[in-house]
Every structure is written in structure tokens, then in C-alpha cells.
Symmetry: C2
Subunit: 401 residues, 2 copies
């Protein structure tokens, strides 16, 4: 068999995708109908069908009504809706999120599990395999899996290459998952993948110019620009969290000072809440903060108001520069609701160019914590026009050999 | 004859472009060679060649050496290097810039003329026609002109359309120029066109991710994102001048307050220079300021230092968000040289994410005041991959009928 990722294997996968695409589009088809539509030779088509049937991706059935005046009923081929075609995994800082779609690109399941920020990669990969197993147990057949799309924290992209397609050597997640699943592993920054997920399936589905901001343990985001997900030179776009909001502000993990992340990350917000005497000075999490805000707690509202002003100011600057029509705010902190989004919106409207004031719309993310894993799936399927300027398939990331 | 812009005319123009492209690529070709390469019917090809020859775009010549064993030498066709194929006009706020390229896409000339900011459109169009005439007098044949690309001040794009391709009704410049030249007039924001010019022919030629900032009477810019010029929803990208740099700052023409333009436009900088006692308190222009800065004048240096800090801070924020590999600074104020670019660079390096600090390069624009006109030409030729996501030809802007 040819090397996965090699030219022959890619050609074959292209043929498979063609056949699967026809079945997805037209529903059940006979071998003859498929042959007329796909343009492949009979031998190639039958080979591919045999492999797809063996892998569980395609099932055969007899057509109920035989064509008039013919002999035995034609056997038709149809997608197996329970065969998983794509898996996305988000290796977030403090948790793992997995999602799977079937061959019809319907989301068939997702699973998440929090873990310590220092969990070694071997154990993360094991956890990932377990979560994938929990999705696939009994209901999902991974036989037709063509690749896995993976999100990781931090910049992804070759630091010396501004072509926008190269990357560093294989990431540990790529090496480990490839060992386990035996398929190519595509990689991108997990926040950019969350932006992709929201722009395909979530709050900004179908919008050509989207700015996605995630307020979580880190602050970052992603851009859909003119209908394409934007990667940036060196893979460094979407680092909204490291925009300076206070020249005299606190040191940031990035090495800078006064970055948005120093005032709008989960830790910064909870610290400010505690300092303001919120939750009786005790350690509280985002759910407690959100609850306090909903109850009208003054400390919670004041803190979120200040955060919102910073966030909205940065969003206004980015709107003037980039011109999105929709801004999506996600991450755990977005769960504090209007106590945060109202001040964000106020600062946004106050500082965006007046001509844009009523044109840009601010929306809460809708996909929750699996947005990044869903974005990973999109990377694998590579069917969204949002990915039209992305390198296709395994070329995106150098594959460990 | 079919309507310019109609489907038949577009088909015909497509055929013309095909023939011209072959001649551009292969040099002189006989009718037979052209026929084999272009795939058009003999009748269509001969018709098109006759029109191109009549228009002066293509000239005939005899091939020196007759093919072995044949009769009379074959007549070959070649591009007329003196035929102007494209004109770009930048209707800037206080002046007009015109550039022309020949069929080989070589710049054959450019001309500029300052005028009052209130000059009516009729007179601007007249001035444009005169400048075009001065370029074409004797050396340039406008017969093959297929369209004119025009830059204007302000947003260009349909305010209710986020598809990125619509526009408002025809702009006065479109109506007037079309009357004079009888060809389609394509329109975009002139600063975005200057960004396009710099990214094709100028300081950032060949770079996939470029941020262009123009410091002139207004402050604005343009983005090349992942190898394409970016327009933004509602045509509103690149408004870097209206990013807030001082919440308590001066009112801005846009209706906001404390915008970058209120501290970094020509007027703001000259006002600050005067207030600092520069040029003995007398009115001075940018050339005088630049001269003072080169001579080490303290007032000039202090003012430019402050402007540079603001500009560099904004650029750093945009770098973190968008990830360009090259920043190009143009406009008249860039002519003050390192007295301005050094503080810009310092603030940029101080506030950009440390990981990007040595990856982004800051460059002075190289095309001067004709950058926008050259961008207009690029819009007409529509051959740059930078325009791959732009609507082609006259579809970009609604044509007056």
C-alpha cells in the first residue's frame, strides 16, 4: 500500500472523496449511476467501493422497485450514517475536547474532560484516545477516518516562513495521535480553530468577515477575512490578548506589559473580583462570578464593567482596521452574560468609527468549549470555502514519517 | 456593437485578453501559432486581431527568416509597446495623480497636479483628462484602453451589503470619466489602492501579509491579507486613522474623539510643531518640518517622537491581531524620514508580542504620490494574485448605463 500522504494515496483519497461526495449529494445510487457521474474507470470505481464498504463507510441495499422490464433489482450504495469520517481534538491548556462528525458532516458527538495544565503529552494523547473511544463505542465506525484535526495552544506556523503554509517540525500531539490512529494529523492553533468552528457552524455561520475573541485562561482569537480563515505571516494572527491596553500595566506571560490578557483573562478577572471584595474575598470561579453578576453584586458588576471597557476598546480598534460585520465573543468569561457583553458593546460603539457603529454586530459564541474541536474537523473535511486559502489536507502540517 | 460591460462585450474582452496575454508571454507569433494556442475559431481570432491592430494595440511584422521550404515569410503579430492599456487616476483630497502602463505592464508615465480641496468634480475630471493627455501626447495610444481604475477618498462599498463586492450608485468620477473616455471606470478607496500599488510594485512587492499606513492629510491604510487585498465588510477596512489613541483627545472629523488622525495627520503634526515653537511659530509645511528634523531642531524631533509613539503603538496592536510580515509607511509625513520612523519602530517593537518583535519589518513606501494611481491600474489589469478575491472587471463597481 502507498504511504499515507504520498501522491498515490492522495489521488486515491481524492477518488474516495469524489464517490463519498456523490453519495452525500444524491443519496443512494447504483454502481452504474455512480460510474456515470464520477468519471472513474469501472475497475477504479469498484476497487474504491469495495474498500469503502469494507471500511464501513458505505453500505449496500437493494432498491425496492426494480426498474420496469428489467431483471433483478439493482443494488444501491449509500453512506453509512454511523461511520465517523472526521475527528477533531482540541488540546486546550487545561482540558481536552473531542468532537466527531459522520460522513454526512453531521455532528454525532462530542466529549470534554478537564485536566491539569501540566499534564504530559503522553497522558493527553491517552486521554484523547479514551474520549474518542467513548464517542465511537458502539455507534461510530472509525474505519473511514481520513485524518484527525487537532488544535493546540500557541502559534502554529514556521517561524522562518511567511508563505503561510509551512510549520515547525511535528508537534508531540501529531506524533502521538498518528501512532494511535494511523492517519495524518492536521494541526493549527486551537483558538483559530474555534473561530473557524463558529464561522461554519456557530454564531457567525455564513458571514464573510468575522472577528472571534475568546476570553478564557488566555485571551486570543481568530479572523475570517473576506470569506477565508486568516493565518497570518508566521501563523501569528489573532493574538488579540497581547494588544497593549495599559502602557503601565502588569507584566504579561508573553514578555510584554499591560496586555489585554493581563486584565481580561480568567485569572485577571477573578483576581480583580477578589480584590474588589467579591465573594467575601474567597477564591471563586467563573460560575460564581457569573452568578454574582446576575444577582446584581456590585463588585462583580464593577469588575466586569472595567473588563468590558478594555475589551470593547480593543474590538473597536480592530473593527476600524479590519472591518468585520460580526464579532463573536466566546470563552468561559462570555458566560457571565450581559454583565460583560453590555460594557463591551458600549465601549465598542463609543470607539468604532461612527460610520460603522450600527453595522457591526456583537454576538455570543454558540458552540461552547467544543468550538475548537469542531474547527479541527473542518480542517480535515476542508470543504468550507473559509479554508479556500488554506493548504489542503496533510500539506498543512509536516507529517512525522 | 454590444454594450460595454454587457455579457457579449465581456466575452469579447476575455478573448482579447487571451490573445494579448499570449503575445505578452510568447512574444511575436504568427496568426497560425496564435490560433493553435488560443483555441478560438479562425473567424473569431481574425476579427479580434483586426480590431486590436486597428486600435493600435498590436502591430504586424514580417518574420525575418522564412520557414524552410515555404513560400512568402509569415506575418507575425506583436504587442505595440507604445499602446497604453491601462490608466489609473487617484482623485486625492488635494491633488490628482495619473499613471499609465503599456501592454507589457511597464509604467510608461505618471503625472500629478495639486488642487484646492473644494475643486468641483467637473473640474477634477477635466484636469484628469488633461493629465492623461499629457502622458499620452505623442507616445501613448489609448486605443486599446479597456478600462480606467480610479481611487477616491472615503469608503467605497455598499453600506448595506457585506458581500464585499457591491457599491453605492455611480460615483461622480465614474460618470464623468466614462463620458470622456467611453470605457468602464472601476473604483475603490484611494488609500487601499495605494496599498495595492505598494504590494505589487513598491516596498512590499511579493509579500503575502502587508499592512500599509498612509500619513497624509488623512490617516488611513490598507491590508494585504494572506496574499489578497482586503476590502472588509461594507468596504470599511484600513481605517487605521480612526483608532482611538487618547480617550480624552480632540474631536475628529469622523465624529469620534482622540483618533490617531487627530495626532498624526499633516495638520495635527504641523499644529503641534507650531505650538512647540517650531519654525519660529510661523506656518510651515511638511518639507520645512522634515528639513528642521534633519537639522536636529528640538521642536521638530519632539513632535515627531510623540507622533511616532502613537503610530507605533497602533501598529503593534494591529500586528498582534493581523500578523503582517511587512509594514509599509507612506504619505507625505513619511518624508520626514528617520525622525519619524525611528520612534515608530521603537514603539512597535516595545508593544508587539515579543515573539513577533524581530519578524515584522517596517519599510518606507517607495512609490510616492502615484501609488494610488498605480493601484488603480492594478484594478484594471486584475492580473495580480492580490486581486484574486476581488470581483473581476466592471463588476467591482456598478457602472453608470
Amino acid at each position: 500500500m502507498s504511504q499515507p500522504g504520498g501522491p498515490l494515496s492522495q489521488l486515491r483519497r481524492g477518488h474516495e472523496e469524489l464517490v463519498l461526495g456523490l453519495l452525500r449529494k444524491h443519496g443512494p445510487l447504483s454502481r452504474g449511476e455512480l460510474g456515470r457521474r464520477c468519471g472513474l474507470s469501472r475497475t477504479t470505481l469498484y476497487d474504491i467501493l469495495a474498500e469503502l464498504v469494507a471500511a464501513g463507510a458505505v453500505v449496500t441495499a437493494s432498491r425496492r422497485e426494480a426498474p420496469r422490464g428489467r431483471g433483478r433489482p439493482a443494488e444501491t450504495l449509500t453512506l453509512n450514517p454511523e461511520a465517523g469520517q472526521a475527528i477533531g481534538i482540541d488540546f486546550a491548556r487545561r482540558g481536552l475536547h473531542v468532537a466527531a462528525v459522520n460522513l454526512a458532516h453531521e455532528i454525532v458527538g462530542s466529549a470534554s474532560e478537564p485536566h491539569d495544565a501540566n499534564l504530559p503529552w503522553e497522558q493527553r494523547a491517552e486521554l484523547a484516545a479514551r474520549l474518542v473511544g467513548s464517542l465511537t463505542g458502539g455507534t461510530l465506525n472509525l474505519g473511514a477516518l481520513s485524518a484527525i484535526g487537532v488544535g493546540v495552544v500557541g502559534p502554529v506556523g514556521d517561524p522562518d516562513d511567511d508563505s503561510g503554509k509551512g510549520t515547525d517540525g511535528p508537534h508531540p500531539a501529531q506524533v502521538l495521535l498518528r501512532e494511535r490512529f494511523g492517519v495524518p494529523v492536521l494541526l493549527d492553533n486551537n483558538t483559530r480553530l474555534a473561530a473557524l468552528g463558529e464561522a461554519i457552524w456557530g454564531a457567525a455561520a455564513g458571514v464573510r468577515d468575522v472577528l472571534y475573541l475568546r476570553l478564557s485562561h488566555g485571551v486570543g482569537g481568530g479572523l475570517v477575512v473576506g470569506g477565508s480563515l486568516h493565518r497570518g505571516a508566521y501563523g501569528l494572527s489573532g493574538e488579540f490578548g497581547h494588544i497593549t491596553v495599559d502602557q503601565n500595566g502588569a507584566r504579561c506571560d508573553c514578555g510584554g506589559a499591560g496586555c489585554l490578557e493581563t486584565v481580561a483573562s480568567i485569572r485577571a478577572v477573578l483576581d480583580a473580583y477578589r480584590a474588589a471584595g467579591g465573594h467575601s474575598g474567597h477564591a471563586a470561579g467563573v460560575p460564581e462570578l457569573a452568578k454574582a453578576a446576575r444577582a446584581g453584586d456590585a463588585a462583580a458588576l464593577t469588575v466586569l464593567d472595567g473588563v468590558g471597557a478594555h475589551v470593547g476598546g480593543v474590538l473597536a480598534a480592530l473593527c476600524n482596521a479590519i472591518g468585520p460585520s460580526v464579532i463573536v465573543v466566546g470563552g468561559e468569561l462570555a458566560e457571565t452574560g450581559t454583565a460583560l457583553t453590555d460594557p463591551i458593546e458600549r465601549a465598542l460603539r463609543a470607539h468604532v468609527m461612527p460610520v460603522s457603529r450600527h453595522r457591526v454586530s456583537l454576538r455570543r459564541a454558540t458552540l461552547g468549549e467544543v468550538a475548537g474541536a469542531l474547527g479541527g474537523i473542518a480542517l480535515v473535511l476542508h470543504e468550507s470555502p473559509l479554508l479556500s486559502r488554506y493548504p489542503a489536507g496533510p500539506d498543512l502540517a509536516k507529517e512525522p514519517q
